[in-house]
Point group: none
Chain length 241, copies 2
Amino acid sequence: MTRSEAGRAQVLVVEDDKGIQELLRFTLVCGGCQPLCVETAEQAETALGGTLPDLALIDWMLPGKSGLALTRKLRGERRTRRLPIIILTARGEEADRVAGLEGGADDYIVKPFSPKELMARVQSVLRRCAPQFAAGTLTVGPLALDTVAHEVRVAGQRINLTPTEFRLLRFLMANPGRVYSRQQLLDNVWGDHVYIEDRTVDIHVRRLRVALGPAAEHVVETVRGAGYKLCAQPGTPPSEA
Amino acid sequence: MTRSEAGRAQVLVVEDDKGIQELLRFTLVCGGCQPLCVETAEQAETALGGTLPDLALIDWMLPGKSGLALTRKLRGERRTRRLPIIILTARGEEADRVAGLEGGADDYIVKPFSPKELMARVQSVLRRCAPQFAAGTLTVGPLALDTVAHEVRVAGQRINLTPTEFRLLRFLMANPGRVYSRQQLLDNVWGDHVYIEDRTVDIHVRRLRVALGPAAEHVVETVRGAGYKLCAQPGTPPSEA
DNA sequence: CGCGAATGTTACGGGACTGTGACGGCATGG
DNA sequence: CCATGCCGTCACAGTCCCGTAACATTCGCG
């Protein structure tokens, strides 16, 4: 589900020109997005330290660190690797387009742009990168996962998870009861073409179970020969009457 | 079922550079695929006139007709429209990535590539395009089989099945009332090119009946001299013509 | 009733699958 | 520079599953 379906898509805007920033903000709000505006790459990184937005809109020309450098950095870090990025560039900098796409941007927009074009591209990128998770709190059995605050609670008790454990649990909680093979989990939690051993999934499932503690570790079920799934009713052994 | 599960996936390789072609062939064979190599787009079209492969690996730079043109043509024809395509492109042609994906490719690989990466992407695309087992819940008599959750219930009571028992029951429930010989069951449940004793099927049928319990064991019927079938109405002897 | 073929039933050894602990690499932060 | 935390891989152990063999039973038929 796109966040544009359930709530507003959060868009991080990195733009030093106040006028353009206001235009972007206005356009995005009118288009149903929730903009978060900063002016420098450094501020952007600070903002990205918290909850990840659904999309980053980055100006090519920034004071200090350039938009390209920021893009490359975001692509280099696991946490932000899959964050959709749109580059804003001025007319006549066509050569930069190549560099921008090389740097990992998903799309680019040439200034001056029409609000219509901006929203079209934003929606397009959001749609393409969409199969994400609805904002809000997922609840399965004794588990509660806040996708915005990045918090997980077991019977109300807050626990700490590593990034991978969190994404794994989030994915499973988004589709409870559904069995996923190790490969499917790698595709959906780690990313499409990442070459990692199947068994690595087992390790993270174990670490996740340990982190969940005895109260909830059995919520993550092993389906022998098939994969793993989340069981909504723990303590219901499938034994016969 | 993907061919990668039962049998080797056939991959058409369109690459004019002999060295790279050999590397591709070697990598694919090691990865469990069955490559068919040609050097030009024309030869590729000829090869595609026969049995369709499971995947096409097309070099971007080809003598004469380009890989993009070939991709577009394949996407334009009904017969090859759904054929998964991966584009091979050289470093520095990143801009072509967009054109390639817009042209209808499912993925692209940048040369030079590692064998591991190649196989990861090939497998990923094959998985993504693999025909799925019909999702949903199959119901026959007192039996209910959830293909997604991998759960089986007898009169609402959940039971545990081993992987083979589950596949066997799933196949029978997908085609209730129809008689299958032991060999047919081996082909469909175990996979095509497996040589296993016929009697093994009997064993698993028994184990399945035991697992189903007295309430439903008679749903799996023996047709003497023919094989096994699932009877929708237990207690209703099949009326032959 | 007797016989052979087909099927049901039991037992068992090998192997596949998963759980578990440990290790080294890598990036981050001081 | 080191310390820390996270991650991916390896190796080992336990468990479960599966295919085969062997024996028992039932069915079909004369």
